[in-house]
């Protein structure tokens, strides 16, 4: 029985491609889990669509590490309707699930139907009918991946999200620094800001419509917020000294920032409406890298007041500051999981810098990566993975590791210095 629900994808925003050229990114799974689920994603029956949606879905699910899609060459048949599925032959191939679909042109857009079946029971688990503009077909494919992932894993997928990151290239004495935004699979990479001077510390607003970042384009540090759709931006902080480490409050009305206008770097709250700044920490050491707890009540930050950098917490309204990390000689650059139960950070011991995850209640830290130069960790919006920057030899790359450390994927770029990845919150 078909259980098609109706879903029309809003196609308000058509992505437009800039003529500038960008480094190609590809993704390798460097560590997968053995229990990945066999799934047959049958190539969708398509009439002239410019994108093979089923192959995008297949690589999304494979990339998650939890699925092992069957190669289309090994498929005994290619059903596109429920009636045409002979479940026995897929059972014989050891498949747990099968996905079928159809893509049909409809005026300037496409009608897409897909359905997911449990092979053992011969039962439909999920089915959708959706409409997509031609320019949004890839986005629609990621959305299908999200729906399948959520149905089978009981957790939201992150395939529709985007990542922001910084690239830097050098030619002789000239450097080009770019703030990039790409789909979560690395496709559609586009520079949203380009400068001959360093760009740093991109941070997504909670609604994913804006990015705050640091730019040295005026030969000193300033913090900007930029609306992604239009490219319009505002310079929101340019005090003498450091203007750094912007972090959005969960309600999107404030930024926690680092300023050194009064001497040493301290944490301040910048009200984006009034532009007033309120000083939160008042220490003569380096206080920096603030991050808000998801409930907005606390701010965790890095401070070297005890000698080496460690993580501290302070109420966002001000109050008592407490140290929260006690293992490892270096703990910095904290970021909360979306449920607030975990904090990921750069965890260093004797010059070796890895990505750690701390359980907020027990304060125990597990180390997820092998170092030695790992940095800038942040959680995926579903809390399942931590995205971070790493390097091997002279190549910088971005990597994602599952919170249990079992699964690792590497996002590889061509000949570009790449760093400071941040996953969009939605």
């Amino acid at each position: 029985m078909n259980v098609f629900k109706k879903l029309v994808l809003a196609s308000a925003i058509g992505l437009c491609f800039s003529p500038l050229s960008y480094a190609e990114m590809s993704i390798e799974i460097t560590e997968g889990i053995e229990s990945a689920m066999p799934i047959a994603i049958v190539p969708f029956a398509s009439q002239g669509a410019p994108l093979d949606l089923s192959s995008v879905v297949s690589s999304d699910l494979a990339r998650s590490g939890y699925f092992k899609p069957l190669s289309p060459q090994n498929m005994p048949s290619r059903p596109s309707t429920a009636d045409a599925i002979r479940f026995a032959e897929w059972r014989g191939l050891g498949q747990n699930y099968i996905v079928i679909g159809r893509v049909q042109p409809n005026g300037g857009q496409y009608n897409i139907e897909f359905e997911l079946f449990d092979v053992a029971k011969g039962e439909s688990l999920l089915g959708y009918r959706m409409t997509s503009a031609t320019a949004d077909l890839r986005k629609t494919a990621h959305h299908i991946s999200d729906l399948i992932y959520e149905r089978l894993m009981g957790k939201k997928g992150v395939f529709s999200g985007r990542i922001a990151y910084i690239t830097s290239t050098r030619q002789g004495p000239q450097s080009t620094h770019q703030l990039m935004v790409a789909d979560a699979d690395g496709a559609n990479a586009k520079a949203v800001a380009i400068s001959p001077e360093p760009l740093m510390s991109p941070a997504w607003s909670p609604d994913a419509a804006r990015i705050a970042y640091v730019s040295f384009e005026r030969k000193s540090a300033a913090i900007y917020t930029q609306t992604l759709a239009s490219g319009q931006r505002e310079r929101v902080a340019e005090f003498p000294g450091i203007n750094g480490a912007p972090a959005w409050s969960p309600d999107g009305t404030k930024l926690a920032v680092t300023l050194s206008k009064d001497g040493s770097p301290d944490i301040y709250i910048l009200d984006l409406g009034t532009r007033n700044v309120t000083k939160l920490t008042k220490n003569r050491a380096i206080d920096t890298e603030p991050t808000w707890s998801p409930d907005g009540r606390n701010i965790v930050f890095t401070s070297d007041r005890g000698g080496k950098p460690q993580l501290y917490v302070i109420p966002a309204q001000g109050g008592e500051e407490r140290r929260i990390t006690f293992s490892g000689s270096y703990n910095a650059r904290a970021s909360f999981s979306p449920d607030g139960k975990y904090i990921t950070m750069v965890h260093g011991n004797g010059g070796d810098y890895r990505i750690g995850v701390m359980d907020v209640n027990s304060k125990s830290i597990s180390v997820l990566t092998s170092g030695p130069l790992d940095e800038s960790p942040s959680f995926a919006p579903n809390g399942s993975m931590v995205l971070y920057a790493s390097r091997k030899g002279n190549t910088g790359y971005l990597s994602a590791v599952s919170v249990d450390g079992r699964m690792q994927q590497k996002l590889v770029f061509d000949s570009t210095e790449v760093r400071e990845p941040a996953w969009s919150p939605k």
Binding site: S18, P198, R218, Q226, A229, E375, S376
Partner: protein, 192 residues
């Protein structure tokens, strides 16, 4: 001293690099002291919208705050390798912003020059190596630049002659990922 040899070698290589591309004096100077803000009319970053629109944010001002100063007109002692004024980079130990003994005479020479030339302004650019987190390294770079500024002020240089900016690990001069590169990147540049 080992560090000194490496630094001398690096300085030599930099000089050779300068000779190698000496067609543009301004670029050369920015290699040695990084101070050439605004001379080439460096503008704001350009931004683009994901909707396909393109716009330029900011006010369109360039970095002309110190721009008029440039590197032109520095007297010959700045290029005499036997004169401490030719040294415009102070190096630091790991995780430290304390000026090492070896560099005290260099800073003293610059202090004397700045005292004698009260209209001269310099930018102290603090930098760090790539290890650890980026924003923390911005903090470390600023501490280093401020400790050089403190020594200059202690010798009578006016605060108005000095500005401090920290680039953290964002502007390495040595691109390797080893101790030899790291010690060259932990530095404060005195940018005239």
């Amino acid at each position: 001293m080992k560090l000194h040899n490496k630094l001398a070698m690096f300085a030599l290589l930099s000089t050779l690099a300068l000779v190698g591309c000496s067609s543009d004096e301004e670029k050369d100077a920015s290699l040695t002291d990084g101070s050439l803000n605004g001379v080439n009319g460096i503008g704001d970053a350009s931004t683009s919208g994901l909707n396909g629109g393109s716009s330029f944010g900011g006010s369109g001002m360039n970095g002309g705050r110190y721009g008029a100063r440039g590197a032109n007109g520095l007297p010959p002692e700045f290029s005499d390798p036997n004169n401490p004024l030719s040294k415009r980079t102070i190096y630091f130990m790991l995780d430290s912003s304390q000026v090492q003994q070896d560099f005290i005479p260099v800073i003293a020479a610059h202090a004397r020059y700045l005292l004698a030339n009260p209209s001269q302004h310099i930018v102290l650019e603090g930098n760090g190596d790539e290890r650890g987190s980026r924003e923390y390294n911005i903090g470390l770079g600023e501490q280093r630049a401020k400790s050089v500024a403190g020594m200059l002020k202690a010798q009578g240089v006016s605060e108005s002659q000095l500005s401090v900016v920290s680039y953290g690990e964002e502007k390495p001069v040595a691109m390797g990922h080893d101790e030899a590169s790291w010690e060259l990147n932990r530095r404060v540049e005195l940018a005239y």
